[in-house]
């Protein structure tokens, strides 16, 4: 009965590409609906439905066997192959889950926009979602690269929505440039993976690559190209420079999607290439990825701590989280190549869990920041403050996201961090003695990054929402609309539920982990207790934990009220009796980050203008810039400029010279051909 019912159902992958078509259709429909404002405002709600359906399909793809389809479009010899397996399913679930909340939010966020710009945003927004989901579904290199480009270009147009500002145009250009350098590396990577078979277009399907034999040399070449290409997309140090420029430039819902979901497609690609398409894995890849990941995590969080622009701060924090994900990926590889399947399963679970968590809390934080930006027109935290009174919903929901990303129990960030630290503590099982010793030190780096993340989040939330207003822009701030609140509520609920029910989440992750490592994480506890190895070794029960905190809170509250009283008197703040206080005497964002800047000043290039004591109108300016920009990118840019200048000498606008060039080229080619 059940079997026949299953066979009658359309294949999941067919439903999935229909979902993608729906998104594409919605995007183009918006272009033609510009006349009717009423119909245009229906596009976002329909998009949320598609997102929900995609999340459902992702979940189904995660739990059911893989399904594949060949579409009759594409190159003559290479039609488009699509496939939905557990790995694609998991990331599709992540995409749909985050996109549902963010699209709901976007529906409210863009509601006051004029029809023309709105239609354009709708087009690129839905193409962006379609591109990302097609990346996850693609089963041949051609389809993958097309989807990858759709994703990159649509997000480029979204980033440059406010293209009348020069800063945003240059941010968009930087993004486009690095995205394409990365895409070239990916193209080369697929070239290596298909084994140089020029005549056989079928070699570009993933099914062929899975069975291709590789020497360790070429496998390493493919891995390094993939690490470079996907790393450029994910914001791996030193390819991260576009990220803190492009994410703040985009409208906030788009930043939420870019940080929460788009960076994860790079992680997806890395997992797909390394564990699925390549037949050989080498241990040193893992060490490399682990090192790069830890450097990225620390670099990201240190720079997040010194930012004053709230969206830029969140973008740097995304770099940190990508670093943690990559460190998890590296550790998985190390365990996997050492034949420790169970430990690889644990680490991979932790990493996938963190990817899912990050989609939710970073989505929530970017949407929260977006509401603040919408209400005050300010991104600079030095001019914000005290928004909790005017925007209580946004404030409390953002607080959830901030606590979650700071890795505090019982929210979701803590679970993945806890699992990852457990994995680090299990390294003594490895057969390389030097790795045994070095990897717990890597755990120290992860712990340091997590502790700094708490610093960053106290700064972000405290300076933006607490205290007194630092500028008049804040005084007429208003609460976000109901759609925005609903979207944020969905993302916050995700943070809470993913935190409270880790056992169930890990069970759902099992098919992906089995697909990639051949083993799954067996929970040694019961449905309440998460015990990744066994209960004697380590366990964590967030639901019990949460219940006890809640009961203690209530008991203490009731006891204080019963035994004493609840009388409150309002007065001016005391502040050690200092009489003249104003809002400018609070810590600014710059001030709050100052200790970190002082401690880690060797990573930064700090520019400061300090006024002299007799200045009538003293002005202070401080700017902490990325040293890598000066050390790495500036020389490359200078070299490119020099080379083009040299090439420019060939151009002097005289037709005779150009004819001579053509003549010389012709002669050269003739000699070359006839030889």
């Amino acid at each position: 009965m059940n079997e026949s019912l299953l066979s009658q159902m359309p294949e999941l992958v067919n439903l999935a590409w229909m979902g993608v078509l729906c998104w594409i259709g919605l995007g183009f429909a918006a272009l033609f609906l510009q006349k009717s404002r009423g119909l245009l405002s229906l596009v976002f709600p329909l998009g949320t439905l598609v997102a929900l359906a995609m999340a459902g399909l992702g979940l189904a793809g995660l739990l059911l066997p893989a399904s594949a389809v060949v579409l009759p479009i594409g190159l003559p010899d290479l039609p488009m192959h699509l496939r939905l397996d557990a790995l694609s399913g998991f990331f599709l679930l992540l995409l749909g889950g985050a996109a549902f909340g963010v699209t709901l939010y976007a529906w409210g966020y863009f509601k006051d926009l004029a029809a023309g710009p709105l239609a354009l945003i709708l087009l690129w927004y839905h193409l962006f979602l379609a591109g990302m989901s097609l990346v996850l579904l693609a089963d041949d290199a051609y389809a993958f690269m097309v989807a990858w480009e759709v994703m990159a270009l649509s997000s480029y147009f979204l980033v440059t929505t406010d293209h009348d500002q020069p800063a945003i145009r240059s941010a968009g250009f930087l993004y486009l440039l690095i995205a394409h350098v990365g895409a070239v590396a990916l193209l080369l990577c697929y070239g290596v993976l298909q084994g140089g078979e020029v005549a056989n277009a079928g070699a570009y399907t993933f099914a062929y690559m899975r069975h291709a034999e590789m020497t360790p040399f070429w496998a390493s070449a493919a891995f390094l190209l993939a690490l470079f290409g996907f790393g450029a997309k994910a914001g791996l140090v030193p390819m991260h420079v576009w990220l803190p420029e492009a994410h703040p430039a985009a409208p906030s819902p788009v930043s939420a999607l870019m940080s929460g979901v788009m960076l994860k497609t790079a992680i997806y690609g890395l997992l797909r290439v390394t564990f699925d398409l390549l037949n050989v894995q080498l241990a040193w890849w893992g060490t490399l990825a682990l090192t790069l990941g830890l450097v990225t995590a620390l670099y990201g969080v240190i720079f997040a701590a010194v930012q004053s622009d709230m969206k830029r701060l969140l973008a740097w924090s995304s770099i940190e989280n990508i670093g943690v994900l990559l460190a998890g990926f590296g550790l998985t590889l190390i365990f996997y190549t050492d034949g420790k399947g169970a430990l690889a399963a644990l680490t991979l679970t932790a990493m996938l869990y963190h990817a899912l968590n990050h989609a939710f809390f970073k989505g929530l934080l970017f949407t929260g920041a977006g509401s603040v930006l919408h209400a005050t027109g300010e991104r600079n935290m030095d001019r914000l403050g005290g928004l909790m009174a005017a925007m209580p919903w946004t404030a409390w929901l953002t607080l959830m996201g901030a606590l979650a990303i700071a890795g505090l129990p019982p929210l979701n960030g803590f679970v993945s961090e806890w699992l990852l630290l457990q994995a680090f503590l299990l390294t003594p099982g490895l057969s390389h003695s030097y790795l045994n010793m070095v990897i717990p030190v890597a755990a120290a780096a992860v712990a340091l990054a997590a502790a700094l993340a708490a610093y960053v989040m106290v700064k972000f939330f405290g300076v933006t929402f607490l205290g007194a207003a630092r500028s008049p822009a804040v005084s007429h701030a208003h609460e976000a609309g109901w759609r925005e609140r609903l979207g944020m509520l969905w993302l916050a609920a995700g943070c809470v539920l993913l935190g409270l029910f880790p056992v169930q989440v890990i069970d759902a992750l099992a098919p992906v982990v089995r697909l990639l490592t051949g083993q799954t994480l067996v929970n040694g506890g019961n449905w309440l207790m998460l015990a990744p190895v066994d209960a004697e070794r380590a366990s964590y029960g967030p639901l019990v934990f949460f219940a006890v905190v809640l009961v203690t809170l209530l008991l203490v509250f009731l006891w204080v009220r019963k035994a004493y009283h609840g009388r409150v008197r309002r007065s001016d703040p005391w502040d050690c009796g200092y009489p003249e206080q104003d809002a400018r005497m609070q810590d600014s964002a710059e001030g709050f980050g100052q200790p970190i800047r002082l401690i880690f000043s060797s990573f930064m290039r700090v520019e400061r203008d300090t006024p002299d004591p007799f200045d009538r109108q003293p002005k202070y300016r401080g700017d902490s810039r990325d040293k890598l920009w000066v050390l790495l990118y500036q020389p490359i840019a200078d070299l490119a400029a020099w080379l083009s200048e040299q090439a420019g000498r060939l151009q002097h606008g005289r037709i005779q010279w150009y004819l001579i060039y053509s003549f010389a080229t012709l002669i050269f080619l003739l000699v070359f051909v006839t030889r």
Binding site: P428, A447, Y455, Y540, T552, S571
Partner: protein
């Protein structure tokens, strides 16, 4: 199971009720060492009672977060006190949170207190929050490193298993634990706002960290925070005892070992409190920007402890 739960509740309540006594003892010892006449050992209780009776005075622009934070901080510390084995080991609540989660609980309390300090928008409040987070971002990983060293020895991050391994296996000296012990002492002075990182009795703007955060609190809110501070000191002492001097804690289900365990705990706490006040009396508070160096040393000692575990003990 029922005895376990009762014992769990009894142990947590005992910790909550006895924590101010430890604070009183430390203050008394310190007064003696400084050649002052000491306040009675029950002085913290009197202060708490006085504070609970007063009317709370709150700034006009205080948000609900400000009033919620003291309860949250107190609940977190009570939870932490329930997690650390003080008298009996392997109580029913301990599987819900291991050593890493314990660090998380401390962090949760700290983040709420720092946010509450920023809520009024006074210069001292934000200053305190910033300094507290500065101290924390090095102290927290250092504490984790101490736990990691202990858990590499005992193959577990569960506090009961760690205590069981360190206390009841054959007597072995772990050199790595010596490093961890020094790191732990450095972290606990910082986390409990004691000299040399912070001074609990100062209200001088150049030096204060913890006190700057709670300047705006009064009455029952202040009482809860003060109590939570005492509870934190108690929990850290219990943690130090559990990690480095675990002998005497009653194993699971052995009820007749309890009286001895209580006696052992009281004796160890009394000696520990006296030692704390002695260390405070003979050391000077470091400048604020030396505090990261101090804690960086603690962090490195913790990491060294782990490395030494791999070099000598595996």
């Amino acid at each position: 199971m029922t005895t376990g739960i009762l014992l769990q509740i009894a142990q947590t309540l005992a910790a909550i009720l006895l924590a101010p006594l430890l604070m009183g003892w430390v203050n008394q010892c310190r007064a003696w060492l400084q050649g002052r006449s000491a306040p009675p050992i029950t002085q913290p209780y009197r202060t708490l009672r006085k504070l609970f009776h007063k009317d709370a005075v709150i700034a006009h622009n205080a948000s609900p977060l400000f009033r919620f934070a003291p309860y949250m901080v107190f609940a977190c510390m009570a939870l932490a006190a329930g997690l650390v084995p003080t008298i009996a080991n392997d109580l029913p609540f301990s599987p819900a949170a291991d050593a890493i989660a314990l660090v998380g609980v401390f962090a949760l309390a700290r983040v709420f207190l720092a946010l509450a300090a920023m809520d009024i928008g006074t210069s001292f409040g934000t200053l305190g929050a910033r300094r507290e987070m500065l101290v924390a971002f090095l102290a927290e990983p250092a504490l984790l490193m101490v736990f990691f060293t202990a858990s590499l020895i005992s193959q577990s991050t569960e506090l009961p298993t760690i205590v069981e391994t360190l206390a009841h296996k054959e007597f072995v000296l772990y050199p790595s634990m010596a490093f961890a012990a020094v790191a732990f002492w450095m972290v606990s002075t910082a986390e409990n706002a004691r000299i040399p990182v912070d001074n609990p009795t100062t209200h001088l703007e150049l030096t204060m960290i913890h006190e700057a955060m709670i300047l705006e609190y009064s009455a029952r809110h202040l009482a809860l925070i003060e109590w939570a501070v005492a509870l934190k000191l108690f929990t850290y002492s219990a943690l130090g005892i559990a990690l480095f001097l675990p002998w005497g804690i009653a194993p699971q289900g052995e009820l007749n070992a309890l009286p001895l365990a209580v006696l052992a705990l009281v004796a160890k706490m009394a000696v520990g409190g006296a030692a704390l006040s002695l260390l405070e009396a003979i050391s000077a508070k470091v400048r604020l920007f030396r505090a990261p160096e101090f804690l960086g040393t603690a962090f490195l000692l913790g990491v060294l402890g782990m490395l030494i575990h791999f070099l000598l003990e595996v």
